[in-house]
Subunit: 335 residues, 2 copies
DNA sequence: CTGCAATATGCAAGCGCTTTCTACGGGGGA
DNA sequence: TCCCCCGTAGAAAGCGCTTGCATATTGCAG
């Protein structure tokens, strides 16, 4: 069974006995075609399994929109639900989404952006604010509508659908300090080329510096994997913190698991917090005190903003508040 | 700042002072263009921020490939890593991936397939084997290369990159029975329109029926959400099972969390198992005994198969073995 | 019946790119 | 010195579709 050439509009025209123009109209603007003709055309389309060719359409007209999203990885629950919401909102508007991933490599982003634009993406959803000069230049040169998510920043850096990572992390650190902890450790993601991580670290630092007697006794950077987070736990545990702030739920949960394995009680011997509020934080035992990131709302907002931009508008950033979700992994230090 | 028209190959040609044909060659087959000319062209491309228009390329040539993946949802770690692997393997081959989701609605699948094909997808990755007649007809009529994943089946149903859900579930049930359990409950996903779930249920049923004295005392179907899994736990717990087989890790972990909340000890009062082996199963306390599904391998295999099909070959299915991962949530019943 | 406005359909010109065929030089072998 | 061939670049024909404009039809008022 070889792959037969996909049927073209000409084939349909031949079968239906009308011109290609009529087929096109029957598809795009059915009212302009008489019912009888339309029925004949639809029958022909069904018979042939005809599907209009995107490239040709995109070329002949400019109303067929596609937008692209470039994210670090899909294998991270944190982005997954936001992307899901983004895609749902887009498809309600009849817009298709293209996804590409960078694997947290900032250099890869520009390549992927180009690839997506080549594919016809007329708008982009990007994560975070920091990017190489070459990427900014390209975006600027081509003046591509794009929305930045999972972060927030001044209006001159672009339009955001996100939240302030520094402020969020600061609030979490303040919460930990308010519990009475003074010797704090942090397990963050890899900060190189990741502004969200850098901001979170900065937020935690700021809170600790503002608090008399508090000290960041250890800071480890770890990939977003349970295993690595466990190793990072071992590393920071050596500094005897009374609380460990995790830069994500994966990191917090990984620390809890390793603590359990080491016979270290949470929150008895050490408190642990997470960040993101994904399912993992609930399953963890003890359940992780974490910071809820409004992923779904962010995804939807990003879609709405992008759609508005494509429609020629200049929508404002949507900055979301985060909130601390108190669960069992954080308690006052043993006195 | 309005969006200026994207530069076309003509613009580049004008700037570089050569014909469009030369530009095209410089991009697609650089060796055919003299170095000096090529440099001039590249400079012009950079200056203008030129990106070839996909539609036009796809139309003028047929070597620009895109493949589509239709999955139930991205917000499920189970698919996420497989998709990530799929996409990575594709992009190594220079093929772009388009993603669409159905939200577990079988009717939505055909719509998404059409949308993807319209977008230029020349191959598809689909989940599972069961689909409405209309979808099969379309696939058949258009003779679209496609690979089925997360499942396995006879060769006449298509080419698979997956595993046998029934056999896997059966092996898990047999493992539970071998531990001495006789009153078994199952928390499965929603079986309507989801062959993977139906197969897993069938596998569990088969194992139990083959075992004297064993009984499936309760079967609940639940969406893949922790909260719902908890409710399902309450439901099946009423039937006093000594072991609960979860149809996925989310389901198993949700059951464990709820059991903890109810003061039911796992595995003391009841054993619980998972399925998939995603991070969740490790974080759960006790860690979930589960069944490892080779998601990453499956994703890569799916990509390789699809690529081979697009290249005109007729690759064979890749069926993977699953393996039970013993952890702490399964123990012999209290005697 | 005729004439005219609608309404329904066809014609053909592109959209931006690739690719075949052709043209032009210039270098090396005879 | 002349030719031929190779390397390089241009001209032009589509790829499958949309759409403005032209051309039938049809229906209805007069």
């Amino acid at each position: 069974m070889t792959q037969n050439q996909p049927p073209t509009i000409d084939d349909v025209a031949k079968v239906a006995g009308v011109s290609t123009a009529t087929i096109s109209r029957a598809i795009n603007d059915p009212d302009k075609v008489a019912k009888a003709t339309r029925d004949r055309i639809n029958a022909a389309i069904d018979e042939l399994g005809y599907t209009p060719h995107f490239g040709a359409r995109a070329m002949a007209s400019s109303r067929f929109k596609t937008v692209g999203a470039v994210i670090p990885t899909m294998a991270n629950a944190m982005f997954a639900s936001g992307m899901q919401a983004f895609q749902e909102a887009l498809s309600e508007a009849g817009v298709t989404m293209l996804v590409a991933t960078t694997g947290y490599d900032p250099e890869a982003e520009l390549r992927q952006i180009r690839a997506l634009m080549t594919q016809g993406a007329s708008g982009l959803m990007l994560i975070g604010t920091e990017r190489p000069e070459a990427t900014r230049r390209f975006l600027n040169l081509r003046n591509v509508p794009h929305v930045l998510t999972w972060a927030a920043g001044p209006a001159d850096e672009g339009v955001f659908a996100g939240f302030d990572n520094r402020r969020a992390a600061k609030s979490m650190a303040e919460h930990v300090l308010a519990m009475g902890h003074r010797k704090i450790a942090m397990i963050a993601g890899i900060s190189a080329g990741n502004d969200r991580v850098a901001e979170r670290i900065a937020g935690v630092r700021a809170a600790i510096e503002a608090c008399d007697g508090a000290e960041l006794v250890a800071l480890a950077e770890s990939p977003y994997l349970l295993q690595n987070a466990g190793d990072a736990f071992d590393e920071v545990w050596a500094a005897k913190p009374t609380a460990i702030i995790g830069g994500s739920d994966v990191l917090g949960a990984g620390a809890v698991v390793r603590a359990r394995a080491r016979g270290v009680s949470v929150p008895g011997d050490v408190s642990v917090t997470g960040f993101d509020d994904i399912g993992l934080s609930l399953v963890s035992a003890p359940a992780l005190t974490t910071l809820r990131v409004p992923q779904i709302e962010m995804g939807r907002a990003a879609a709405e903003i992008l759609l508005a931009q494509l429609a020629g508008g200049t929508p404002k950033s949507a900055i979301f508040e985060t909130e601390i979700v108190e669960r069992a992994s954080l308690a006052p230090p043993r006195s």
